[in-house]
Symmetry: C2
Subunit: 330 residues, 2 copies
């Protein structure tokens, strides 16, 4: 068990545990990042080694501030895949091979001597945007993050809604096209199979292989690894017909996804994050907004639906993790 401490610290540490890197940030009472550290995850060394590297990253970030650990109220951690926040356990996650029911909060808490709190990373990204980013001042907000997959987080009544089985906000697996393309989850027609970066890339390379004209082979040298969000944005700006069509279709599906979410939960605001949104900005959101507002069932107040871009970029998760630690470490 972690040593008991009086939780009187002024600062908190937010951590983002990813498959390739671990990010630690010391966050002050105003929600500002005052120190950061980054280390490689090296997941192949197993959970114990990764947790020790997490502790190192946290210590390094705190030491940069010349802050004593007495000032640290708690540590919040965002981890990929399904987690049990109450038990502090990370379940099996594809990004961290060998992790099966790892008691992360107790192990890391033991190592650091402060209370550690856990939540799913995408949930914390949404919490970060809600507390300190685009969602500030709202009470009900849904974050949608479009990357290789589509993830999300629900803030309802001012609180993160993680669900009865801690499985809420799996927005990428809402079904938009019954019997549509196969998803990574093995089912068909999920939003992730229609509108994620992976779906966009799939359709672009399929088009190119079938002989359609596009700037992408030239811009990437034919290397799928080089088809970044920046390259997609460049191709869009230069009027690439294939990329414009494929991205436009993804935007249409994201509009339907947004409408479905609004028709179910009716939040004040939808915040879109992820690489494509960062690369294309509001241009990416405009068609999504148009489709979503058309499919929103209460047309009388369709103009009150706010669909905006995320503000915190790569820092959303650590800031959300810090907010979690501040909420929980009382």
């Amino acid at each position: 068990m972690a040593k008991k401490k009086r939780m009187t610290g002024t600062h908190v540490v937010g951590m983002d545990l990813g498959g390739t890197k671990i990010l630690a940030a010391v966050v002050d009472q105003d929600g500002r990042i005052v120190a950061e550290a980054k280390v490689k995850t090296r997941p192949e060394k197993g959970p114990d080694a990764v947790i020790e590297r997490m502790a190192e990253a946290a210590r390094e970030a705190v030491s940069r501030l010349k802050l004593s650990w007495e000032s640290i109220r708690g540590v919040g951690v965002g981890a990929p895949g399904p987690v049990d926040p109450d038990a502090g356990v990370v379940y099996h996650t594809p990004n961290l091979p060998g992790w099966e029911e790892v008691p992360l909060t107790s192990q890391l808490g033991e190592s650091l001597g402060v209370p550690v709190f856990l939540e799913n990373d995408v949930n914390l990204g949404a919490l970060g945007e809600y507390m300190l980013g685009a969602g500030q001042g709202t009470t009900d907000m849904v974050g949608i993050f479009v990357g290789t997959g589509i993830g999300g987080g629900l803030i309802l009544d001012g609180k993160l809604h993680s669900g009865y089985r801690h499985a809420a906000a799996e927005i990428g697996h809402m079904i938009l096209l019954a019997d549509g393309p196969v998803c990574g989850c093995g089912k068909r027609g999920c939003s992730e199979a229609l509108a994620s970066r992976t779906a966009i890339e799939r359709d672009i390379w399929l088009g190119i292989r079938a002989g359609r004209k596009s700037l992408i082979p030239e811009l990437t040298g034919g290397d799928p690894e080089r088809l970044t969000s920046g390259v997609l944005a460049q191709a869009m700006r230069e009027g690439d017909p294939l990329v414009s069509e494929v991205v436009g279709r993804a935007q249409w599906y994201l509009g339907l996804l947004t409408a479905s979410i609004i028709n179910l939960v009716d939040p004040e605001m939808i915040v879109f994050g992820g690489g494509l949104i960062e690369a294309l900005g509001d241009d990416f959101l405009l068609p999504i907004r148009i489709t979503a507002c058309q499919y929103f069932i209460q047309q009388a107040c369709a103009d009150k639906v706010r669909i905006v871009a995320a503000k915190l970029g790569d820092h959303a998760v650590v800031l959300g993790a810090a907010a979690l630690a501040r909420q929980k470490a009382k």
Copy 2:
């Protein structure tokens, strides 16, 4: 303005304002209906006349108990279509022609001399099931009511979640088949256009007109008005191939709808209500459960998803309205 009263009554009145009838029920502290009254709505006479008939129904129910109005703490009303619970206003609703921003709670409160509280009828149906029906003992529950349309209600964290624009739980307009059949709302692919009673009837009559074999022409004499839930249930039991296929397809879509809701909100329980479910019982839910659990993203806990039939039947709305009045009249 309604006369101010001390809200010390032991009983509440729950009311269900429908397009054809008005139901009023006196409900005691244990959530039991102890008296009821029913009157015709006669919506063609306009809002003022309808509200006076509502007052009559409430008075009649109370008088049957030989209870003084001093014992009535408040009145809850479930009304169709979009409402503003805070303002007590009913907006335009297709079932009540001529109703445009009607200040229902102030008018009815003035007439009855007790506080009146308003909510959407389907939301109150879900609240009723949560407080006194199938959802008792849960904290997060979603009600799905399959009728001529598909409606619903969300109970999150023990409270009715009506949304930022009072537009939540429009489950019938979550999109399941992008570019699918046209919905009554004018858009395409909504769950209501795929799995409501209206969608089922549409596909059955289309099949019959195209020459497909079915017991329905015999069972109904070819009269669409006679194609009730009971008749559909009978045709299913007798192995009608057309009805089995059409209802089976609707069940599949209801399974996908359920999965989408669970993947977004992750409630403890999904409660299905409406005529078809009442007529077919658990047989109707079995295929829905199978599809939903397959499409639920967290397979590790798929067995914990509870999908059950509603228990309160036609009394769900008045009981939910009574619960609302008890919560609000403090």
